[in-house]
Amino acid sequence: MGGTLKDRIVVTNDTKFLAVVREFIARLVLQSRLSRDDENKIILAVDEAVTNIIEHGYDDGVEGSIEIEVETDEAHFKVMIRDTGRVFNPESIPTPDLTDHVKLGKKKGLGIFLMRQIMDEVRYRFKDGVKNELTLVKYVR
């Protein structure tokens, strides 16, 4: 592959579209220079990011859109996830204590931990005053 490969998909805030997002990411990982060993992990990181937006970004019954854009080249696999929902900065969420998590039987709150575990960069910005933009980057090794 030479140069940069780019693609994007837009879905609405419904969990039924998570499978569509995963298939989109799987296709691009396979076209990228990333190892096949990274495929499941990258899919998972993006799934967790999109799930957070679906579950927390919008009030119940309010339809919103989520844009997922991928840019990949010889050195990076970069995913930008944009939404117009509630301002939510994952960088503000502390890393959970997993022992406590299990002891308390807490079933939520592990998505951001997974994103950080998997990706080399997890960055958030409030873009143009109207959008949340989360950038996930995996380096090609």
């Binding site: 998570l18 499978a19 995963r22 499941n40 799934d47 997993l98 998590h101 039987g105 079933k107 592990l110």
Partner: protein
């Protein structure tokens, strides 16, 4: 993509087998949780979950196991995860849950671990 499917069947000695196929994410975990809770509410605290046909799990799916674990162990039970696919096992590893849950490769080993 394989269809999402859950099947529950009794094994010997008060053990229940739950087989889940397809994918366990934020879209499907509630159905799985319901099946899990139905087994527990019926008084069964020893559960084997066959993960051999589960292609994908996210933290929403793993959360079902986390939330049930204490209740099962408090009642002298446990959940044994049978034959997870590579992708599913990887997520348990990433979450640091592989030391907490019991994994077995066959139904016989899983049943033995619960007796």
């Amino acid at each position: 993509m394989p269809a999402f499917e859950i099947r529950t069947e009794p094994l010997q000695n008060g053990i229940t087998l739950i087989t889940v196929r397809g994918f366990l994410d934020a879209h499907t975990y509630e159905q799985f949780e319901k099946a899990f809770d139905t087994v527990i509410e019926a008084g069964t605290y020893k559960i084997v979950v066959d993960l051999s046909a589960l292609d994908y799990i996210s933290s929403a799916g793993a959360g079902v196991f986390i939330s049930a674990l204490d209740k099962l162990r408090d009642n002298d039970g446990n959940v044994v995860l049978m034959k997870p696919t590579v992708n599913v096992r990887e997520v348990f590893d990433l979450l640091g849950l592989s030391q907490i849950f019991t994994f077995k490769n066959t139904r016989e080993e899983a049943v033995r671990a619960l007796q």
